[in-house]
C-alpha cells in the first residue's frame, strides 16, 4: 500500500468507517467489468461535511479519489487504476424528502433505485430511468453513468429526471447546481454535465429528482420474426410512425438459443423476437398504441403475435428476456459472459444490420456474441462469451471490439447508450469524440486541476483496455 495518512481519514469518519485490509482493497478494486486494481484505503462518509473534509485532504496531497455507489458499473468506472481513496457512498442512503405537490424528491446518493421507487409507490408515482441493475444501483452511480433502462424509450435517461444536485468539488467546496423546477434557463446547467461524468468532476452528495405518475394500464406484446432484417424494419417503422412505446426490445437468435438451452422455456427458434409495450392512464390509449405496433409487426412478417394487460401474463411473455442474463452465464461451463462492447446505440434503420454485423464479427474472431437490447432507444446490448483464461481469446475480443466500434461509427452510432465509458470503452470513445476531447479535458481541468477525481478514465484512460489494468480473470 502507498503511504497515506490513514489516521487523518479515521479522524474524519471514525475508525469503523475505514478499511485497509488487503482483502477489502481487493474486493473494492473490482466492479462488474473485466478490470481489477486496488485502492489504498476505503472510506465511508456519513454526511456532506465528511465528504468535504476528505476531498480537501485528498486535494492537498494530490491523492486519487474514486467515488463508489453499488460498484455495478460494467466498464471499470470504479476500478481505482491509480489507487488512492475509494469513497463508498452507501452510508449516505437517506431519502430526504418526497414532495408530491411540487413533483420532486430529494435523496442522498447512496439510495438504491428500487428503494426509492418503493418509497414513491404510495404516492402513485415512479422514478423512471431504472436500469436493469436497479436492485443494487445507487442514485449516485446512476447519475455518474447517466443510466437508463427498458422504459427510457418513453421516459428518458437519468439526465432527463435530474432537476438539481449538491456537489462537493475536488477542493472540498460545496456547490448547489440546477433548480427545483421543471424547466430552467439560468446559465450553464452544470448539474446536467455532472450526469454522465463518471465521478470525474465532483462528488454528488444530494440529488433532486423528478418523477412521473404510475400508468394505470400497461400492455405487453410479442412478435416472432424469421428474419432479423424484418424485425429491424419493424423497429424503424414503429419508431417512425409516431407511436410511443414504453418499451421496445429485441432478442436475437443467439440469445433465444441460450435461453432455450439453459432454461427450457421453449421459445420459438426464430431469428428475432420483438417485445413491445405501451402504457397510459386510459385503456383506449394503450389499445391504440399496441394495435399500431402489431400492425407494423404483421406488415413485416411478424408471427405468433400475443399481448396481455395481465401482470402475470406479462411476466410470462417477458420471461425469455428476463432470463437472458443467467442463460448467457450458464451457456457453457468453460465460457464466461463478459461486458465488452456491450451497449452501443445506432440509428433505428441500422438496428438489424448492426445485429447481423455483430454476429459476423464474432464468428470471424472465434467468440460468441449475442445482440439484444432496448432497440426503442436505439440501444443494442451485446455480451461476449469467451474462455477468459485463454490469452488468445483476449486477443480475439480486442479485435472484435475494435471492429464493432469501427462499424458503429461508420453508421453514425455512438459508443455507449447507457453503461458509460470507464476503461473498457475509452479508445472507442476517444475515436468517436476526437474533435471535442480537448474541450472535455479543459472542462475537467476547470473542475479538478489536480486530476484527483477518478483519474485514468474517459479521456484520461489507457488506449488499450486489455492491458490498462489487471484483468479480473487469471490467464494461463
Amino acid at each position: 500500500m502507498e503511504k497515506i495518512d490513514v489516521p487523518r481519514l479515521i479522524s474524519i469518519v471514525g475508525e469503523k468507517n475505514v478499511k485497509t485490509d488487503p482483502a477489502d482493497l481487493y474486493v473494492y478494486g473490482s466492479d462488474a467489468s473485466v478490470h481489477s486494481a486496488r485502492p489504498w484505503v476505503v472510506v465511508r462518509p456519513e454526511n456532506t461535511e465528511q465528504v468535504q473534509a476528505i476531498m480537501a485532504f485528498a486535494n492537498q496531497g494530490k491523492i486519487p479519489v474514486v467515488t463508489r455507489g453499488g460498484g455495478s458499473g460494467m466498464c471499470g468506472q470504479t476500478v481505482p487504476v491509480k489507487g488512492g481513496i475509494t469513497l463508498d457512498m452507501k452510508r449516505m442512503n437517506q431519502i430526504l424528502e418526497i414532495n408530491p405537490s411540487d413533483v420532486f424528491c430529494r435523496v442522498q446518493p447512496g439510495v438504491v433505485d428500487d428503494d426509492l421507487n418503493h418509497a414513491l409507490k404510495p404516492f402513485g408515482v415512479f422514478y423512471p430511468p431504472t436500469p436493469a441493475s436497479s436492485r443494487i444501483a445507487t442514485i449516485g452511480g446512476e447519475i455518474g453513468n447517466n443510466a437508463s433502462g427498458v422504459r427510457s424509450v418513453k421516459y428518458g435517461a437519468t439526465r432527463d429526471s435530474v432537476l438539481g444536485m449538491k456537489v462537493v468539488l475536488p477542493d472540498g467546496s460545496l456547490v448547489t447546481l440546477g433548480a427545483r423546477t421543471r424547466v430552467e434557463a439560468t446559465g450553464y446547467q452544470l448539474h446536467k454535465l455532472i450526469v454522465g461524468s463518471e465521478g470525474t468532476l465532483g462528488v454528488v452528495v444530494e440529488a433532486t429528482l423528478s418523477f412521473v405518475p404510475i400508468p394505470k394500464f400497461r400492455c405487453l406484446g410479442m412478435a416472432n420474426f424469421d428474419r432479423l432484417e424484418d424485425a429491424g424494419a419493424a423497429i424503424a417503422d414503429i419508431m417512425a410512425s409516431g407511436v410511443v412505446p414504453s418499451m421496445l426490445e429485441l432478442v436475437d437468435s443467439v440469445a433465444i438459443k441460450a435461453v432455450n438451452k439453459t432454461m427450457d422455456l421453449g421459445l420459438p427458434e426464430v431469428e428475432a423476437v420483438l417485445l413491445y409495450e405501451a402504457d397510459a392512464m386510459v385503456k383506449e390509449a394503450v389499445d391504440h398504441e399496441i394495435n399500431a405496433m402489431q400492425e407494423v409487426c404483421k406488415k413485416h412478417g411478424g408471427k405468433g403475435l400475443t399481448s396481455s394487460y395481465d401482470a402475470k401474463e406479462r411476466a410470462k411473455i417477458f420471461m425469455g428476456r428476463k432470463k437472458l442474463f443467467p442463460a448467457l452465464s450458464k451457456f457453457s461451463d468453460i465460457l464466461s459472459s463478459t461486458s465488452l462492447a456491450d451497449d452501443m446505440a445506432v440509428p433505428y434503420s441500422k438496428m438489424a444490420e448492426t445485429a447481423r454485423t455483430i454476429h459476423e464479427i464474432a464468428k470471424r474472431n472465434n467468440i460468441i456474441m449475442t445482440a439484444y437490447g432496448h432497440c426503442g432507444s436505439g440501444c443494442m446490448h451485446t455480451k461476449i462469451l469467451m474462455e477468459p483464461t485463454r490469452q488468445d481469446q483476449w486477443e480475439s475480443a480486442r479485435k472484435a471490439v475494435a471492429e464493432i466500434y469501427e462499424y458503429v461509427r461508420s453508421v453514425k452510432g455512438t459508443t455507449s447508450a447507457e453503461h458509460g465509458i470507464g476503461i473498457s470503452k475509452a479508445s472507442a470513445f476517444k475515436a468517436e469524440k476526437s474533435d471535442s476531447l480537448d474541450l472535455m479535458r479543459n472542462i475537467k481541468k476547470a473542475f479538478d486541476p489536480n486530476n484527483i477525481l477518478n483519474p485514468g478514465k474517459l479521456m484520461d484512460a489507457h488506449d488499450d483496455w486489455v492491458t490498462a489494468t489487471d484483468l479480473r480473470y487469471t490467464i494461463a
Binding site: A23, V27, V112, S329, T389
Partner: protein, 314 residues
C-alpha cells in the same frame, strides 16, 4: 494446537464457476450479513471475489478472510438471487473446509460452546446438521458442517452456546432494536420477519428519520428462533402490537415455522387470559419473494392495531 498449511484443495474445483460470476452484485442486498454492516466486503459477491483472490494467488490467506468466509447463515438468499447460477453456499462450505485446521481458522457465525456447558447434550440432539459432537467430555462444533442456524444457541439452558459474530440477529441485539424503536413518538408495532420470507423493499436505504414510521421490521434468521420473551417484550414496553412473519408450511428446512406458530398460539392464549385482545399478536406466513403479500399483511395488521389503540399498562 498443531495446524496445517492452507491449501485451496476443495476450492480448486470452483474456478470456472467463479469465472462465470459476472459480479453484478444482485446477491448483496439479500444478505443479512451485508445488511447489518453495509460493507461490500461482507456481501456474498465479496466472498466470491476473496475466494477468487485466494485461488489466483492475488490474496494471501488470513484470519480476516477466514472470518469473512465463515460468516454466513446459509439462508440461501444469495443463491436464489444469483443471476449466473453460482452455487455460493457450496463454495463457501469448501472455503471453510480449506481453512479448517489451519492457523487462520475462525468461527465466524458458527457456534461456540463456553466453559459453562453443563454437558446436557441438548444442543447435540437439537443440531439439524450433525455439526455438534461430544468428544472426551467436551462439546465440539464442526465449523464446516455448522450452518449458523442458532438452534443450539436457543436450546442451551445454561446459555453456554454463543456465536462469535451474530450480525444483529441475536436476541440481545433484537431487544436493543425494539427498545430504541419503541422510544420514538409514533412507534406502534414490531414486525419480526424471518430472513427467508422477509422481503420488504427499502432494503438498503432509509426514509427521512424524522418522518416517524409506525412499525419496524426486524430480521431474524428464522421464525423458530423467536422465543416467547422476545415476542412479548415489545408489548411489555409500549408497543400496540407484534406481527411475526415466517415461511409457509413445508418451506422451512428446520421446521422453524412450526415452532413460531406454537409460540404465537401460546402467546395469544396468554393475552386472552390477561384480558388483552389476542389480535395484538399475530402470525403471517409469507412465501419467499412475495413483497406485495408481505406488505399487504403488514398493512392489514396495522389497521387492526390502530383500531385497538394503545395497550394500557395497568
Amino acid at each position: 494446537m498443531e495446524t496445517r498449511p492452507f491449501e485451496t484443495k476443495h476450492l480448486d474445483k470452483w474456478k470456472s464457476n467463479l469465472d462465470s460470476c459476472i459480479r453484478c452484485g444482485y446477491c448483496y442486498e439479500h444478505c443479512p450479513v451485508f445488511k447489518d454492516t453495509r460493507w461490500e466486503s461482507d456481501a456474498p459477491r465479496a466472498k466470491m471475489i476473496m475466494i477468487y483472490g485466494l485461488l489466483s494467488g492475488k490474496l494471501e490467506p488470513s484470519t480476516y478472510i477466514s472470518d469473512k468466509l465463515s460468516s454466513c447463515f446459509y439462508c440461501q438468499r444469495c443463491v436464489v438471487a444469483c443471476s449466473s447460477g453460482v452455487p455460493l453456499t457450496d463454495i463457501i462450505t469448501d472455503a471453510k473446509r480449506d481453512f479448517q485446521g489451519t492457523e487462520f481458522e475462525t468461527p465466524g457465525t458458527t457456534s461456540v460452546t463456553n466453559t459453562d456447558c453443563a454437558l446436557c447434550l441438548a444442543c447435540v440432539r437439537a443440531c439439524p446438521h450433525e455439526a455438534r459432537e461430544f468428544i472426551e467430555g467436551k462439546i465440539f462444533t464442526d465449523t464446516v458442517k455448522c450452518q449458523s442456524c442458532g438452534a443450539c444457541v436457543d436450546i442451551c439452558p445454561n446459555q453456554a452456546v454463543a456465536t462469535h459474530l451474530s450480525y444483529g440477529t441475536d436476541r440481545p441485539s433484537l431487544n436493543q432494536e425494539v427498545a430504541t424503536f419503541l422510544g420514538k413518538d409514533n412507534a406502534k408495532a414490531i414486525v419480526f420477519g424471518c430472513n427467508w420470507s422477509y422481503y420488504p423493499d427499502l432494503q438498503s436505504s432509509v426514509m427521512d428519520p424524522t418522518a416517524d414510521p409506525e412499525y419496524k421490521i426486524l430480521i431474524n434468521m428464522c421464525g423458530g428462533r423467536l422465543e416467547k420473551p422476545l415476542l412479548l417484550e415489545p408489548l411489555l414496553q409500549s408497543a400496540w402490537g407484534v406481527l411475526v412473519a415466517c415461511c409457509p408450511d413445508g418451506d422451512c428446512e428446520h421446521d422453524g415455522n412450526v415452532k413460531a406458530k406454537t409460540h404465537v398460539t401460546a402467546l395469544r392464549q396468554l393475552l386472552k387470559e390477561m384480558d388483552i385482545d389476542e389480535d395484538r399478536i399475530q402470525l403471517v406466513q409469507v412465501a419467499h419473494g412475495d413483497k406485495t403479500g408481505f406488505q399487504a399483511a403488514i398493512d392489514t395488521f396495522m389497521e387492526t392495531v390502530n383500531k385497538l389503540g394503545p395497550l394500557n399498562h395497568r
